[in-house]
């Protein structure tokens, strides 16, 4: 499943005029974006900007009201099964089957994708090892810490060696050592031809880690391109604040000046 059948130059993910409305609120306002194959792509934006909604629509979890999404050239909403086979997704804010042990959960994810038992078993052990979950593998996921839960969810997204990884807030609650390990795994994956899309609101991390970045706020795409092009000389965080706005109220809490 990891071989690249798509023509060279095909974006890893391509979305066009993707839109979603929840009741009166426009969550995503017709975003179009190309994620180049082989890039380490950061999706940044303030809380409630529409990052998770956009990624859910691009990965087949949430049906868009408008627009289209192609994953490695496969229309996600016309050929969902083919598209899903090519991507590994870490969704944010969803539960896991947490009455399974970590090892069972990763195995489950592999078997659901139709992989054979031996490959699943081998890769499960590899994943548990690199994610430092070997000892916890036999424990129920419900007893995991938040960081461990994130890591085991990441393992379920990696087991089938997907062409594109879509990770929604992969570093939340993960300890620094594990985060470094995960970054290394992801960098290695990109170096060998994979594409990673991460959402985050830690600008520092995105600036260090990613080759490309897109800034979203209030459902609109504000900027996209290589990290250097988007930040234009200043730090990504400064540029982000310029783009998104909303600063300048720090005078408000005078009672806080003790």
């Amino acid at each position: 499943m990891s071989n690249s059948t798509a023509e060279p130059g095909t974006p890893a993910l391509s979305i066009r005029s993707l839109g979603k409305r929840f009741g009166d609120k426009v969550a995503v306002n017709g975003i179009s974006l190309d994620v180049p194959a082989g890039s380490f792509f950061g999706l940044v934006g303030p809380n409630g900007a529409g990052k998770t909604t956009t990624l859910s629509m691009a990965t087949g979890l949430l049906r868009p009201d408008a627009g289209q999404a192609w994953l490695a050239g496969i229309d996600v909403w016309a050929e969902p099964l083919r598209a899903k086979a090519a991507m590994g997704v870490l969704a944010d804010g969803v539960r896991l089957f947490d009455r399974l042990s970590g090892r069972q959960l990763v195995t489950y994810s592999g078997l659901l994708r139709g992989m054979d038992r031996d490959t699943v078993a081998e890769r499960t052990e590899d994943l548990l090892r690199v994610l430092d979950l070997e000892d916890a593998g036999a424990k129920l996921v419900v007893d995991y810490s938040a960081g461990m839960t994130k890591k085991i969810a990441l393992a379920t997204a990696l087991i089938h060696s997907p062409r594109v990884l879509v990770l929604d807030e992969p570093f939340e609650a993960v300890d620094p050592v594990s985060a470094a390990n995960i970054r290394e795994i992801l960098a290695d994956y990109v170096a060998h031809g994979g594409t990673v899309i991460v959402s985050s609101h830690v600008m520092d991390l995105v600036q260090r880690m990613c080759s490309h970045v897109a800034v979203i706020a209030e459902g609109n795409l504000l900027a996209a391109g290589t990290v250097d092009a988007v930040r234009g000389g200043v730090s990504l965080e400064e540029r982000f604040v310029q783009l998104v706005g909303g600063r300048g109220n720090s005078e408000g809490l005078s009672w806080l000046h003790t």
Partner: protein, 522 residues
């Protein structure tokens, strides 16, 4: 050492009175109250000496069983066990295990409940005072019965001590709490039926109880009074074996708790691959393995079928009350349908964990079939038993094929209907980890409508097989029964396959919408 432990218990009791006079007052009031009850009960027992021996035996066995059961259960539910001599406190001492166990057990008699129980059960001899062998047996049996009470209480609390505080315990306790509530209706109903019907089944109950750990010692004098020396001897051996087993189990638990003192419980014990190693390594097999794991580990699933083991009891109550034992024949079809519908809320129970199924692109038909397979692992044997046993016991084997056909039709077509329904409708159910008996707001109306509709569909689907059963009863031709079996199985199988296919197709088409629906239930 045993005497030492008993003195220790006495000293602890005395010191606690000194520290808090109010405790002494409490113990005195409780003791007096209890003593009054015991005197009252024992006086009643003495009156039984003039009654029929069989009646006396029935009453004593039932009463003693109730007391013993109380000792086994009340400490768990009320958590009011006297742990003055908590075994954990002896962890650092080198006391031989049997001695510690004996000492701890006997020290239970030093204290109000233990002493009163000893008096109460020992007082049985008054009922048998006209029959010297029975009198002696009653005395010995009373003491042994009181020991059994203490041993059971120790066993249940010791085994529970390892569970209390763990997630698993909370899971299980929540379910156990609901069982008496479900049975309350028939119990009250039976009681209201009047003493006559109670007297009808009490002797039978006493006969059964007399062979369980609860009533075995109390039934001993009755045997001797009736001259059944062989039975009495057998019962004595049985009782001692029970007592030995309980003590052995408790002592083992004690030993374990002392070797591994309870640390704050974090994390569960390691689990292997479980069902994943048993089912085939296909998407379908994986779904089945996961679902079966949940059936065993998630209390919400257990709660949804907690009514299944109670159903035979409920129907048995109803059928004996109405004097129509044939009512037991509905057990098979009823359990079949009930258990099949247990999977109708499956996706709702998954909650947003269902996203894994959406993201991995598992085919809908695999999802449906896997869930059915997991449920069938236990639902099929249970349904078969519930269909086969009642006709056999009622001596209506002529109806067996038809009942079997209707039951299997109910189970299989129920699976089919539930597979379609759960691909389309979600309920607001308790979230993973929540109490299985919590009713989420806004659940009622929709659930009622969906369930009413599915049950209406079920009754229509069962019509052909039911019609053939009626034909058999009216014409007395066995051929109709066999036809009912054939029609039921074939119809059920066809509907099962069709339901899985249709449900699978709906799931493929609507997985994101279903995902949204379960996310909204959060």
């Amino acid at each position: 050492m045993v005497a030492h432990l008993m003195r220790l218990k006495l000293a602890l009791l005395r010191n606690s009175f000194r520290r808090s006079p109010w405790q002494l007052v409490g113990v005195c009031i409780g003791g007096l109250y209890g003593l009054g009850m015991v005197v009252f009960a024992v006086t009643g027992t003495a009156l039984l000496a003039d009654a029929d021996a069989a009646l006396a035996n029935t009453i004593l066995v039932c009463a003693a069983s109730l007391v013993t059961l109380g000792w086994a259960i009340v400490p768990l539910v009320a958590f009011g066990v006297d742990l003055t001599l908590d075994p954990a406190r002896f962890t650092t001492f080198t006391i031989s295990r049997p001695r510690l166990a004996t000492g701890l057990l006997l020290s239970g008699f030093i204290g109000v409940p233990g002493l009163l129980t000893l008096l109460l059960l020992g007082g049985q001899f008054l009922a048998w005072r006209r029959d010297p062998p029975a009198l002696l047996a009653a005395l010995a049996g009373g003491v042994a019965g009181a020991l059994m009470c203490l041993a059971l209480a120790r066993l249940t609390t010791t085994s529970m001590a390892r569970l209390t505080g763990s997630r698993r315990f909370r899971d299980v306790a929540g379910i156990i709490a609901i069982i008496p509530l479900i049975l309350l209706g028939p119990i009250i109903g039976t009681a209201a039926e009047g003493i006559e019907s109670v007297l009808d089944w009490l002797p039978r109950l006493a006969t059964v109880l007399g062979f369980t750990p609860l009533g075995v010692f109390a039934a001993l004098p009755g045997d001797l009074a009736a001259g059944a020396w062989g039975l009495g001897a057998a019962r004595l051996v049985l009782g001692l074996a029970y007592l030995g087993a309980v003590l052995w189990a408790w002592e083992r638990g004690l030993h374990k708790s002392m070797e591994n003192p309870l640390a704050p419980h974090t994390g569960s014990k390691p689990v292997g691959m479980g069902a994943f190693g048993i089912f085939p390594a296909t998407p379908r097999g994986a779904v089945a393995a996961r679902a079966l794991t949940y059936w065993l580990k998630d209390p919400r699933y257990a709660a949804s079928i907690v009514v299944v083991p109670l159903m035979p009891v409920l129907i048995w109550f109803t059928s004996t009350n109405s004097g129509n034992p044939q009512l037991m024949l509905v057990l098979g079809p009823l359990l079949g349908i009930l258990m099949a519908f247990a999977i109708s809320a499956d996706v709702s129970y998954d909650s947003t964990a269902f996203s894994l199924h959406v993201l991995t692109g598992v085919r809908g038909v695999d999802d449906r079939a896997g869930r059915v397979l997991a449920c069938a692992v236990f639902a099929l044997p249970v349904t078969l038993l519930a269909a086969i046993l009642p006709p056999v016991f009622l001596g209506r084997t002529d109806l067996l094929p038809a009942i079997l056909g209707i039951s299997l039709c109910g189970l299989l077509s129920g699976f089919g209907v539930a597979s379609v329904a759960s691909a389309r409708f979600t309920y607001a159910v308790p979230l993973p980890g929540e109490s299985p008996f919590k009713t989420p707001p806004g659940a009622g109306a929709r659930m009622a409508v969906v369930q009413l509709a599915t049950f209406a569909i079920m009754s229509v689907l069962l019509l052909p097989a039911l019609g053939l059963l009626v034909a058999q009863v009216l014409t007395h031709h066995a051929i109709f029964g066999w036809l009912a079996l054939a029609v039921g199985v074939v119809e059920g199988a066809v509907l099962l396959v069709a339901g899985i296919r249709l449900g699978g197709r709906w799931l493929d088409a609507r997985a994101p919408e279903l995902m949204q629906a379960v996310a909204a239930n959060r």
